[in-house]
Amino acid sequence: MPAQATKPVEDTIAKVNDEVAVGSDLEFQRKWWRFTRLVWIVFPLIVVADLLGCFGRGPLANARIQTRDGSLDVKYERIERFSSPSILRIQFGPAAIHDGKIQLWMDESLIRSLGNQRIIPQPAASAIGKNGVLYTFDATALPAASAFSLEPIKPGIFHLRMHVPGCEELNLTIYVMP
């Protein structure tokens, strides 16, 4: 069996007082301590931002948008989290009800990106087309509302358009955090 290659021991470890090989590097360590001080400033800021909802699930993440004609009043989370549930609530105004029914068109990012799981109440009918879904709800009188249970399937910035046919359109921008 061939012998293993060897090399002589060199004095490569920095010594203290020229007698003990410790290998400390105080200059590097001082830089590291400065860096950690910065980190301990940044980390609490991130935590506070999180509590405020900058990364979702907080007061800054909640949003509300209405159409000028009053057909739709939407409460949603403008900052969502990937694969985490949230609720998008829609309050319908008088302009949305026609012949005891409410029709609501929502574009396909509702399903493709924002991962719609459930609609409460269940729509009486739904029809696909025009890059979206047209939901029809039975509605007898105001107030009328529906809720969409979302669970985003990918991170990113998404636009969710919706309107009641013949009424003003809403365009929601939703940021989904990884």
């Binding site: 400390s24 360590q29 301990w40």
Partner: protein, 146 residues
């Protein structure tokens, strides 16, 4: 794909966090460190795995962590500066009867911590210590006065 990237990020972030959290002296982990390790580990696990509970996902994540671990070990060997960032360097705490005040303060250590390790080696007073070094793994090495 995403699970592998999440595992890669999670591993590197955990190394960073443990490095930032600092070294604590002692040969055994205290309950304080147990909480840190298990809690961070548990919290990291769920987003790494996601909703994919398949064996193939688990195997890919384990292999990713294994490859990353080996890669970091290789980088540490190849680039000593990288090794210093990942592991830190040994730090002198006491030399020839002089406490290294800045290091002790920054590493949040007290003379009690050094004396505890000295007693472990049969020393009775601090005067019997020539050098005390905080090693990269958090242990304190004591070199007796001759």
């Amino acid at each position: 794909m995403a699970a592998v990237l999440r595992a890669l990020f999670g591993y590197c972030f955990l190394i960073f966090m443990v490095r930032i959290a600092g070294r604590r002296p002692g040969k055994q982990i205290t309950p304080f460190e147990f909480v840190l390790i298990f809690f961070i580990g548990g919290v990291t696990l769920t987003p790494m795995v996601g909703d994919d509970r398949s064996l193939s996902n688990a195997l890919c994540i384990i292999m990713t962590i294994g490859i990353t671990h080996s890669l970091i070990a290789w980088l540490k060997q190849r680039f000593p500066a990288f090794g210093r960032v990942v592991d830190g360097t040994p730090l002198l705490l006491l030399a020839k009867g002089e406490w290294q005040v800045e290091t002790m303060r920054r590493m949040r250590l007290q003379d009690d911590d050094v004396m505890a390790l000295a007693r472990d080696q049969g020393l009775q007073t601090l005067e019997e210590i020539d050098y005390a070094v905080l090693e990269r793994n958090g242990e304190i090495s004591i070199i007796k006065a001759s």
